[in-house]
């Protein structure tokens, strides 16, 4: 899987794409694969405050629940309502199925995130275990 280079990645398998002061967040293809068939995505309400590294929602498969961790701090400006009725979109196209957009509080936080190449290396190691 080629990880798009237009965004940054977390070790918890979220991606964030930055456009000016706004960030778009989703989970990686590696994450959707390890979760299996996703049946539900729980996102916060518009207006919620996220803190980098803290859980902000969950993704569920039939028999597992995983937390979603914020790649950066900020205020939620939009959530992808489509995922409420079609969570399978995340399985079909994880990098195209965004979960929420947020206005970034501190864009410098992004510096500590992984690049596509680093993330690819990271998951290769993780899968190797």
């Amino acid at each position: 899987m080629a990880y798009p280079t237009d965004r940054k990645y977390t070790k918890e398998h979220e991606w964030i794409q930055v456009n000016g002061n706004s960030g778009t967040v989703g989970i990686t293809d590696y994450a959707q694969q390890s979760l299996g068939d996703i049946v539900f995505v729980e996102t916060p309400k518009v207006g919620s405050e996220l803190t980098a590294g803290k859980a902000f929602g969950t993704v569920e498969s039939v028999k597992a629940v995983s937390d979603l961790y914020a790649p950066a701090s900020g205020t939620v400006t939009e959530v992808n309502a489509e995922l409420a009725t079609s969570p399978e979109n995340v399985n079909k196209d994880a990098h195209g199925s965004w979960m929420l957009k947020l206005s970034l509080k501190n864009p410098s936080e992004l510096n500590s995130l992984l690049s596509a190449a680093d993330y690819e290396k990271f998951v290769a190691e993780e899968a190797g275990h």
């Binding site: 049946v39 539900f40 729980e42 569920e60 498969s61 039939v62 028999k63 597992a64 629940v65």
Partner: protein, 459 residues
């Protein structure tokens, strides 16, 4: 031992196969100092005939043959005989939670039908597979409202069953859920003004019971308006399921917590019963308890599975919606069969008979004692105030092999000498007349002794 399918030779052969010489070696992992070196101090093994005798004897000491006017959350209705013949089938009785769907379709489909019928009767979109009972279902429904609203405080109608209130208090204590209580007015319904005053921006939900503990039907529309105006949810507890045949269900509620014992479940000295939670579809992911859903197999055939399990303790552990693990499947099956037997028309007729019996009884008691809360509609229970302590009246009724209404002094001292009476389709007119006669006699004797007192004073 008649339940153990092994001969001494079998045990011998098995030990040998394992490579052990004695059974004691199997228990070697238990430190010797803790192993029990004596027989348990319990009675010797009994024959089946002795066991049956023992319980028949207990039955004779337990109100066998009494006619009862008790309700208050546990109702004596007729149980069609096919309930016990069907639930006694080993395939229902001796199966466990339907984890393996392919060999549990019987249990799963019956739960799906149960969920559907509870939905139809309560006017809610979805119902779960059952909860322990009505009291714990009420507490769980309140906790669900707390999760859904993100608020913590709860307003409880005092006309909610006192034991349900106690259970709710136990659950709420350590969840940081402050409870406030709204009293009732002289029509026996929750005091709407007081309710309104108790509402704050932190109120997660209001919980009322309808028909309430006094048998009175709450003005659910008015209560819902108040709750919703303040952004809170309305939880309605239903303890007498038969009422749903003729009383409009609380459709304005957000969550309904029900006790379905009336639907074919024996009184059984208080349990096992069958709680259920029903709600709107959009709240289902915060609903506790098991849920069965319809799906298809590889060949496209209809089948049923346990679903939305990620809400539950075995997956979400300390973040689950509840720690509840079992449901009351076998009891839910009794309820299911009962609902099928009576069905769309029978449930209505059954409820009508209950209504008629209680109306007749209230009129008879009203001739002598005072029937409280008469200005609001009621179902099959009513409160009678007498001049004499109801416990004394009940003592006399026992002589007629009758159990009178439940004295309310312990929970509602302000009602004085009041008792909660219940009539169902099984209460005969003769029994009502006899009991009303005993109450009449009590009133006459109190009055005449008062008259004597007055006469004495006059002299």
């Amino acid at each position: 031992m008649r339940y153990l399918p092994k001969s001494p030779a079998d045990r011998e052969a098995m030990l040998k196969a394992i490579g052990l010489r004695s059974v004691d070696e199997l228990f070697a992992p238990i430190p010797a100092e803790y192993r029990l070196k004596r027989d348990l101090n319990i009675p010797r093994q009994m024959a089946e005939s002795e066991i049956v005798d023992f319980f028949r004897q207990r039955s004779r000491e337990n109100g066998e043959g009494y006619t009862s006017f008790l309700g208050a959350g546990a109702y004596f209705h007729y149980r069609p005989v096919i309930i016990d013949s069907l639930i006694s089938r080993g395939e229902f009785l001796t199966a466990y939670t339907p984890y393996q769907a392919e060999i549990s379709q019987g249990t799963l489909q019956s739960i799906f039908e149960f969920q559907t019928m509870i939905g139809e009767l309560t006017g809610m979109e979805v119902a779960n597979a059952s909860m322990y009972d009505g009291s714990t279902a009420a507490a769980e429904a309140v906790m669900m409202a707390v999760r859904l609203t993100g608020r913590r405080s709860v307003v409880v109608a005092r006309s909610l069953h006192p034991e349900y209130r106690e259970v709710l208090a136990t659950y709420a204590t350590h969840q940081g859920m402050p409870l406030s209580v709204a009293d009732f007015t002289d029509d026996g319904r929750v005091n709407l003004e007081e309710l309104e005053k108790s509402m704050t921006a932190e109120t997660a939900c209001v919980i009322v019971q309808s028909p309430n503990f006094f048998g009175t039907i709450e003005d659910v529309t008015a209560v819902a308006e108040i709750a919703h105006k303040h952004g809170a949810m309305l939880v309605v507890s239903i303890a007498e399921a038969v009422s749903l045949g003729i009383v409009e269900p609380p459709r304005q509620a957000d969550i309904i917590a029900m006790e379905a014992q009336s639907f074919g479940v024996p009184l059984g000295f208080g349990g096992p019963y069958c709680g259920v939670i029903a709600t709107r579809e959009k709240y289902v992911r915060q609903m506790p308890g098991r849920l069965v859903g319809q799906t298809v197999d590889k060949q496209g055939r209809r089948g049923f599975v346990l679903t939305l399990a990620t809400r539950e303790q075995h997956i979400r552990r300390e973040r689950a919606t509840s720690n509840i693990c079992t449901n009351q499947a076998l009891i839910a099956l009794m309820v299911n069969i009962f609902m099928n037997v009576y069905g769309k028309v029978g449930l209505k007729e059954l409820a009508r008979q209950n209504l008629a019996k209680a109306a007749y009884a209230a009129a008879q008691f009203g001739k002598h004692g005072k029937v409280l809360f008469g200005s609001a509609p009621r179902f099959n229970e009513f409160v009678v105030q007498t001049s004499e302590d109801p416990r004394a009246i009940n003592e006399r009724l026992l002589g007629h092999k009758m159990v009178g209404g439940l004295p309310l002094k312990r929970c509602f001292p302000e009602l004085g000498n009041a008792a909660l009476w219940c009539c169902t389709e099984l209460t005969t007119r003769t029994a009502i007349d006899t009991a009303a006669g005993v109450v009449a006699e009590s009133e006459r004797s109190v009055r005449s002794s008062r008259a004597e007192d007055v006469a004495e004073v006059a002299q």
